[in-house]
Amino acid sequence: MSTDSTISRRTLFMKMGILFNGLVATAVAVPIIRFLLAPITRGRANGYLSWVSLGSISQFPEGETRLATFQNPYVTPTDGKTADTACWVRRVEGQQFQIFAINCAHLGCPVRWFPQSGLFMCPCHGGAYYQDGSRASGPPERGLFEYPHTIRDGLVMIQAGELATPGSPTASLFGKKSPCA
């Protein structure tokens, strides 16, 4: 009898040990999971988007589309050149602008502007867009992504901070354009 009770005592201790480890593991797992999800939660708490300047309005002649670059508002010390982003600025007339993400709406390759034919062309899969960013031909389902923008103290400001992909805020802030826009 006494042997049996000793074994059950040992078994009990073993089970308590497993339970104890389980509790500690859960407690440790919480910060680990929070750490892993930080890229998502940080964006939700503070938002990655900020207003950044593309420079003076005078740099952008009316009726033309120019390449502009800006530093991403959210940077880390090891980003190097990758913190910089390019975008296409189209000054329609006066204070009326259209500012397009550099990324093709198909798979994100950098589109190039051809002023002579008034087209943006993508080198990857041949997507093409008209000067107002609407889809002209090729595999993209929609027009170019546009940044929200404003003119403040003579500076062209855009709200940026996230890679422009079909799922990003940049894509949803402006609705899809019809092919004939």
């Binding site: 892993l36 999800l37 890229p39 998502i40 964006g43 990655y48 390449l67 670059t69 991403n72 959210y74 940077v75 880390t76 010390p77 090891t78 980003d79 190097g80 050149k81 990758t82 913190a83 910089d84 982003t85 390019a86 550099i102 990324n103 198909h106 798979l107 994100g108 390759c109 950098p110 589109v111 190039r112 051809f114 002579q116 034919s117 008034g118 087209l119 062309m121 993508c122 080198p123 990857c124 899969h125 041949g126 093409a128 008209y130 000067q131 002209a136 031909s137 090729g138 595999p139 993209p140 389902e141 901070g161 996230e162 890679l163 992909t165 079909p166 799922g167 990003s168 805020p169």
Partner: protein, 489 residues
């Protein structure tokens, strides 16, 4: 010699490994499996070991920081003694590993080796294939150049199409809102710790299963696998017609492994390391990114899918493909093993091989992409300009200046996005040409807003000269009648 034997004895008394190692190496295998068809698994393992060794060496120098990675690769290529060779070995080793793993898989499939009782060996093998592809992709990212940067952008664009969670998945993948320092750090961790760790564990299980269940016997047409009898039949085969793996079969593995290592080294010496291409600076947009060869087929598929099909194909296609591979041994776990009596299996392999090869070949010259510099660097061949009127030559200028040449070839020069225009005048009348230029359509942008009437007239006049000698351009007969003339207007 005696001293070495004594040390060996001393060690084995404590480790007690000699007996199990002897047992493993001398385990009986069916004699006809000592074949050159059975060498690909061990070759994949040897190339994996090469990748481990060269990978560790590269990590001595490589700096996994977005601001320094490219410079550290330059330093490996140009400053450090034989750094270029180690990079080349690792790069070519990666190509060979993907190829050998695929060949191994095809051989295993055609020899019916995934059938009972080796279903788990196959399933583990499918995961090994996925991890190998994962290593290939993450490795391409570590070569942190323009292709790597924009390749990540393509990956992020695909991931962002997942309904509801797309944006979150992109941030998890990139480690933040953009492709930057955090992205490279996490791909480094995946490439150097996470996936190799899993690979080593899965390779261990894969090998253990091969040892426990025995190597697949040479498939004989008509010898069917039945769950009730297979194991006893296999045991009998290895006892009656078996031979110890070492040395009976192993010498072919050894020869082939050495040959493959030599081939990797030869490629490394003759062709050198891969890249890095331009700096990963997102503001340099004069780039045409493309993936490494094992993903080129996907790059091609993505240009051919209709826009509405793309997201479903990208998200559901891989699930179906991986699901089919995983389910294969459970749906077809018994029956015929020999490829001679499995025509559908052989045709499936041929179809997949031809499809992948065709797409890979197409991705080699990307006929779907505009030639971004054709308008300024590919002149119109002289024969299209001789004996032309001033108006027609003006049209040729419009053709260049408005980038028509980027998508349309003339005399094989220029882009292939749209049809070649060498004989366009035979196919379209003057009115049809004007309509096509102004309104576009059929995957061509409309140029109405960007061509003046004079430019359109000149361009169409030039296009109408593009017909073979002796063959008249297309014309609208009804128009001639309406105008009361027999010739062109």
């Amino acid at each position: 010699m005696r001293l070495i034997a004594q040390i060996g004895e001393w060690l084995d008394r404590r480790l007690q490994l000699a007996a199990p190692i002897r047992e493993i190496s001398e385990h009986p295998v069916p004699k006809n499996t000592a074949s050159w068809w059975y060498v690909f698994g061990s070759a994949a393992l040897v190339v994996f070991l090469l990748q481990l060794v060269t990978g560790i060496m590269l990590a001595f120098v490589y700096v996994p920081s977005a601001s320094e990675a490219w410079n550290s690769l330059q330093s490996l290529n140009h400053d450090i003694t034989l750094g270029w060779f180690i990079r080349a070995l690792h790069g070519w080793g990666s190509n060979f590993m993907v190829a050998i793993v695929l060949i191994h898989m095809v051989q295993v499939f055609l020899f019916g080796a995934y059938k009972f009782p080796r279903e788990l060996t196959w399933v583990v093998g499918v995961f090994l294939l996925l991890m190998t592809m994962g290593m290939a992709f993450t490795g391409q990212v570590l070569r942190f150049d323009q292709d790597a940067y924009w390749g990540l952008g393509i990956g992020a664009s695909i991931a962002s199409r997942v309904p509801f969670l797309g944006s979150d998945i992109v941030k998890l993948m990139l480690g933040g809102p953009i492709i930057a320092g955090a992205t490279l750090s996490r791909f480094f961790a995946l490439h150097v710790f996470v996936i190799p760790g899993m690979l080593i564990a899965f390779v261990g299980v894969h090998l253990l299963l091969v040892l426990k269940l025995g190597i697949n016997e040479w498939p004989m047409p008509g010898r069917l696998v039945k769950k009730a009898t297979y194991e006893s039949e296999y045991r009998e085969l290895t006892h009656k017609d078996g031979a110890p793996f070492v040395p009976y079969a192993v010498w072919k593995d050894l020869f082939f492994a050495a040959f493959i290592l030599l081939a990797v080294a030869a490629c490394a010496v003759f062709f050198g390391p891969f890249g890095p291409t331009g700096q990963p600076d997102p503001t340099i947009i004069q780039t045409a990114p493309r993936p490494d060869y094992f993903f080129l087929w996907l790059y091609a598929v993505l240009s051919f899918l209709p826009p509405s099909m793309e997201t479903p194909a990208l998200l559901i296609g891989p699930v179906i493909a991986i699901g089919a591979l995983l389910l294969l041994p459970f749906l077809s776990g018994e029956g015929e093993k020999s490829w001679r009596r499995r025509p559908i299996a052989v045709l499936t392999i041929l179809l997949i091989a031809v499809t992948l090869a065709t797409f890979t070949h197409l991705a080699g010259y990307t006929p779907w992409s505009p030639h971004m510099n054709a308008w300024s660097s590919d002149p119109i061949p002289a024969r299209f300009l001789q004996h032309r009127t001033a108006l027609e030559r003006q049209g040729a200028l419009v053709f260049q200046a408005k980038q028509c040449h980027n998508c349309h070839a003339l005399g094989r020069e220029g882009g292939q996005r749209g049809p070649a225009l060498d004989t366009v005048a035979v196919q379209l009348t003057q009115d049809q040409l004007i309509r096509q230029v102004i309104q576009g359509g059929g995957n061509m942008p409309a140029y109405g807003k960007n061509l003046s009437p004079a430019e359109t007239t000149a361009l169409v006049a030039f296009l109408q000269t593009l017909h073979p000698a002796g063959q008249a351009p297309a014309r609208d007969a009804s128009r001639a009648i309406a105008l009361g003339k027999s010739g062109e207007n």
